[in-house]
């Protein structure tokens, strides 16, 4: 009679319940948690900065242009001061120590001068989004503004957005000479390698000064 073996019946019932719970837990945790992507609506688009917009440089006798001081990308809510970046002893590009600001590589042309100006920012910190977290959302035609030390603005339009594996980074395309005033914004992207603590790819936004 079941009543005479209450402990055994209880064990059977408890065991079955534990099996059910374990199975449910196993099935429910089999998928990856998605990348943290706050809703785009959560970050309001910024207004375009105000100031005199300068014309692209001529080929002959171009005037020296002032140093860049800040970057605004209205569509993705980016407004950051620009720090200066050089190369590490290994010859790699320095990155800002803060994930909240972007930096201009002083070995590249100044934004608004002839050539490919380089600006770098973090996609994230250990805990959350960095200054270039939403860079991947930019598409052809989106506007980027760089403010310079004399208060003038250079307006760029995105021409392309590329994602490259870091071990196949196209150095010549990104850092090589170009004949007009261009900008490249660089951050990380793609898969994150937990073992090394680095993303495997770089996102590069190409932009050209508007004439």
């Amino acid at each position: 009679m079941p009543a005479r073996r209450p402990a055994a019946a209880l064990a059977l019932a408890a065991g079955l319940a534990v099996i059910a719970g374990g199975t449910a837990g196993l099935l429910l945790t089999r998928h990856s948690t998605l990348a943290m992507r706050p809703a785009a609506a959560g970050v309001a688009a910024l207004p375009a900065p105000t100031g005199p917009i300068v014309a692209p440089p001529p080929s002959a006798a171009p005037k020296p242009v002032p140093a860049p001081v800040s970057l605004t990308i209205p569509l993705i809510g980016v407004r950051t001061q620009l720090i200066t970046l050089g190369l590490t002893s290994a010859g790699e590009l320095q990155v800002p120590s803060s994930t909240a600001v972007a930096g201009w590589y002083t070995g590249s042309p100044r934004p608004g001068a002839v050539g490919s100006a380089i600006i770098v920012g973090h996609i994230d910190s250990y805990n959350g989004p960095g200054v270039f977290y939403r860079l991947i959302e930019l598409t052809r035609g989106d506007k980027i503004y760089v403010e310079r030390a004399d208060g003038t603005l250079v307006e760029f339009r995105v021409t392309s957005v590329q994602i490259y594996l870091k071990d196949r980074f196209p150095t010549e395309d990104v850092y090589g000479p170009v004949p007009d005033a261009e900008l490249r914004l660089i951050t990380c992207g793609g898969a994150f390698d937990k073992a090394t603590g680095h993303y495997l790819s770089n996102i590069v936004v190409y932009a050209t000064e508007v004439s």
Binding site: I19, A35, A60, Y126, T187
Partner: protein
């Protein structure tokens, strides 16, 4: 029944992953200047005794000009225009001439994606020609590149040196030297000819490409320094480390704890079940 549900769940997961992977894939559809299929073109008037002209750029076969430069005088070089790769024609008309009038001169130019060209009116007015020059868009690391266009009619043959480097020796009127790599820095440029010499100074930064144009000035020879292109003199090595993973997707956790729970549950259920059965058999035996 249960298997079907699990299969469906897995399929949904697979579809969601594909969608996620598809977002960056779509973003990469926009290509860079080399791969979007655009190149650059600029126009120059380098014929000393030819009066000012209007220069027209047409997409080949289109009678409406894409770009018109008015009243372009000797020594003028336009900025580069970014244009889709393809065939173009360049026409020169006297300054102020009707756009529909017969051009004085025209030529065709094929623009390749990621390449830059200078279309220059060269030579004396009597022998004016439009020449297409391909402009260099690469430098060796830490170096600059420079070439010379000889556009002086008064001094028909010139030798151009940069510091102690000979850029062009015995360069004839209306000809162009090849680019050559030079050390960056500010250096003196000397143009020597049978009619005298001219000195100036130019700054060539690492990673930049220049064209020096020798012109007839108001009083003797002049040198104009064109910046053809500019990049990073010391290109950084490899990619850039700009992320710590705080927003990266995380993989599923280990299944081991759940399997242990299921195992323990099974053991408990089995023990309980066996005891129950043995109890029944004993009861039945009495």
């Amino acid at each position: 029944m249960k298997y079907r549900r699990i299969t469906r769940r897995l399929l949904m997961l697979a579809a969601a992953s594909a969608l996620l992977l598809g977002i960056p894939a779509a973003a990469t559809a926009y290509a860079s200047s080399a791969t979007t299929g655009t190149g650059w073109i600029r126009l120059a008037h380098l014929s000393p005794n030819t009066p000012a002209v209007d220069v027209y750029l047409y997409s080949f076969g289109d009678t409406n000009a894409m770009i018109v430069l008015h009243h372009v005088a000797y020594g003028t070089v336009s900025p580069y225009e970014s244009v889709p790769a393809g065939d173009y024609s360049v026409a020169m008309r006297g300054a102020g001439a009707s756009p529909t009038s017969q051009p004085v001169l025209s030529t065709s130019v094929t623009v390749a994606a990621g390449h830059a060209y200078t279309v220059a009116g060269l030579g004396p007015e009597s022998g004016l020609r439009l020449q297409v020059l391909e402009d260099k868009l690469t430098t060796a690391p830490g170096q600059a590149e420079v070439r010379v266009i000889q556009a002086s009619l008064k001094q028909q043959v010139v030798t151009v040196t940069l510091g102690s480097t000979v850029l062009a020796s015995g360069l004839k009127f209306a000809s162009v030297s090849d680019y050559q790599p030079v050390s960056p820095g500010t250096q003196s440029v000397t143009v020597s000819s049978s009619g005298g010499t001219a000195n100036s100074s130019v700054t060539l930064a690492a990673g930049t490409v220049h064209t020096l144009v020798v012109l007839d000035g108001a009083s003797g020879l002049e040198v104009v320094n064109l910046e053809d292109a500019s990049g990073s003199g010391q290109p950084p090595a490899g990619g850039v480390s700009t992320g710590f993973g705080g927003t990266a997707p995380h993989g599923p956790g280990s299944p081991v704890p759940w399997l242990v729970v299921i195992g323990a549950g099974s053991l408990l259920a089995l023990t309980g079940g066996l005891k129950l059965r043995r109890g029944r058999q004993l009861n039945a035996g009495i």
